[in-house]
């Protein structure tokens, strides 16, 4: 197990030490909180959405380096994207953008994908659209 965790990619370490988009958007248009303190990971994604497009995305994360880097990378990936494009950003895309994650940390990128989905669905339901997760 330990073999790999000590071998975070440089990209993970970069996003961990210099996280992009850290913080919380006041009066956000969409909010997604996922994870569970018992598991040691909680992510809170906040979005500013204008004309169906994510114009700003921020995160707050309680978790390991992989969780922080995944949040940071995920918010980077969805900024400027339409909601449909952002929805299509998979955990694999996040992990690949980070030059890979150790096997036991892949769930962090899954959490990031879930956080984005939850924030978009929050926006959708607030605007009378059905949640896509339920589809």
């Amino acid at each position: 197990m330990t073999r790999v965790i000590t071998m975070y990619s440089e990209r993970v370490m970069d996003h961990f030490t210099n996280p992009r988009n850290m913080g919380e958007i006041p009066d956000a248009d969409g909010i997604g909180e996922v994870g569970n303190p018992a598991c040691g990971d909680i992510m809170r994604i906040t979005l500013r959405i204008e004309e169906n497009r994510i114009v700003d995305a921020k995160f707050k994360t309680f978790g390991c380096a992989a969780a922080i880097a995944s949040s940071s990378m995920a918010t980077e990936l969805i900024r400027g994207k339409t909601l449909d494009e952002a929805w299509a950003v998979t955990n694999r895309a996040v992990a690949e953008a980070l030059e890979g994650l150790p096997p036991q940390k892949v769930h962090c990128s899954v959490l990031a994908e879930e956080g984005i989905h939850k924030a978009i669905d929050d926006y959708r339901t607030r605007h009378g659209m059905p949640a896509k997760s339920g589809e």
Binding site: T17, M22, P37, I42, F62, C64
Partner: protein, 391 residues
């Protein structure tokens, strides 16, 4: 955050220690010159044997035992496996129940779990908020099928020192042998197997400035225990395998140095420990000390920071040149929160947010100052990132 790599502060001595130069020096001739196999009968082998027996004497002396009751192993894990599985196998007809604690090292817990799969029953005793085991609970747990009580002398994560003598007495009152994992206690707590009533004791050289891969099991004469490693007649037929002579010589030297004047040697470390604990609790809010405030290893600091996660703390400290741990080294990659901290009653997220700093003889007051100067910033930074942080 500034890269502190120029600075290097090692505060993870519970995970492992650097081998002391005197110890390495004692080992060196055993590799290429006095390299004989102690089981052979010519002069070269006799030399190896004599140095090995000298080391055995030193280990014995350090714990108040006789040399013939010391058996060298490949480390603490092997000693624990041997003690637990060896006693279980040799006493199967007598009983099938083991009493241990919920905060043992995995080297004790996992052999116990392996035995459970074979039909043995194991009681994992709870601990109080400080990580202490109540001897009365041991008394209650013992049945007429109990064949072993195993409670560690000092915990590797929170540093809590157990009332070993009292627990041993309870075991003996019921005719049950007592094993203690003293891997963290050697060099930190005076040990006397007779005075404390210890029948089996595990130790590991790399925890007290000796080499990795060498340890020992003390077995009181008459204790019913099977073999664990079968093969050649080494160690009086009780532990097979060509002896790791350099390692054993290193163990002997290291334990001699570590157990001479324990209190005096640790005085400075205790001072640094207390300054670290005080400094952290005073400068960082929402922080608490894990483990016992007094019955505590001289070198152990373990604090829970609310709202942040341990691995992130470690990696940020590493970037600043500080080596620390979140729990036992073996589990620092695990997703599970520490079984020790949860047994002490910490909620999961605080268990996830705990930091262990364990001091050593190379540490200086400057090191303490440095940690105290950067740690608040690290915690603050992570808390700013955390959705759990209030306000």
């Amino acid at each position: 955050m500034a890269d502190g790599r120029s600075r290097s502060v090692y505060m993870d001595h519970a995970a492992t220690t650097p081998t002391r130069p005197e110890v390495v020096e004692a080992m060196l001739p055993c590799f290429s010159e006095r390299f004989g196999n102690p089981s052979s009968i010519y002069a070269l082998a006799r030399e190896a044997q004599v140095t090995m027996e000298k080391a055995r004497g030193r280990v014995a002396e350090a714990i108040g035992a006789r040399p013939e009751n010391i058996f060298f192993t490949s480390g603490g894990t092997e000693a624990d496996n041997w003690a637990i599985k060896g006693v279980a196998a040799a006493n199967r007809k007598r009983g099938d129940h083991i009493v241990t604690s919920s905060i043992e090292h995995h080297a004790v817990l996992h052999p116990c779990q392996a035995l459970e799969k074979q039909g043995y029953r194991v009681t994992y005793l709870p601990v109080d908020g400080y990580g202490l085991i109540d001897p009365a609970a041991v008394e209650e747990a013992i049945t007429d099928k109990t064949i072993l009580v195993s409670v560690m002398a000092a915990n590797n994560e929170i540093g809590t020192i157990q009332p070993v003598a009292a627990i041993a007495k309870v075991a003996h009152d019921h005719g049950v042998p007592f094993h203690t994992d003293a891997v963290q206690a050697i060099g930190a707590v005076p040990i006397d197997v007779d005075a404390m009533g210890i029948d089996l004791l595990s130790l590991s050289a790399h925890k007290f400035y000796g080499p990795k891969g060498t340890g020992a099991l003390y077995i009181r004469r008459g204790t019913r225990i099977g073999t664990f490693m079968d093969g050649g007649a080494q160690e009086r037929g009780r532990r097979a395998g060509t002896e790791n002579v350099p390692g054993i010589v290193g163990l002997g030297k290291a334990i001699e140095l570590a157990t001479a004047d324990i209190e005096g040697r640790n005085r400075r470390i205790v001072e640094m420990r207390d300054r670290l604990i005080r400094g952290i609790l005073e400068t960082i809010p929402d922080t608490r000390l894990n483990g016992h405030p007094v019955e505590r290893l001289a070198n152990n600091v373990n604090v829970a920071f609310r709202y942040v996660e341990g691995e992130s703390i470690l990696l940020m400290l590493d970037a600043l040149g500080i080596a620390a741990s979140t729990g036992s080294a073996c589990t620092s990659a695990s997703l599970e929160p520490s079984h020790v901290l949860t047994a002490c009653g910490l909620p999961h997220e605080e268990a996830h947010g705990s930091l262990r700093l364990t001091l050593g003889h190379r540490n200086t007051d400057d090191d303490v100052d440095y940690v105290l100067s950067v740690l608040p910033r690290v915690i603050e930074r992570l808390r700013k990132m955390s959705p759990l942080t209030p306000g």
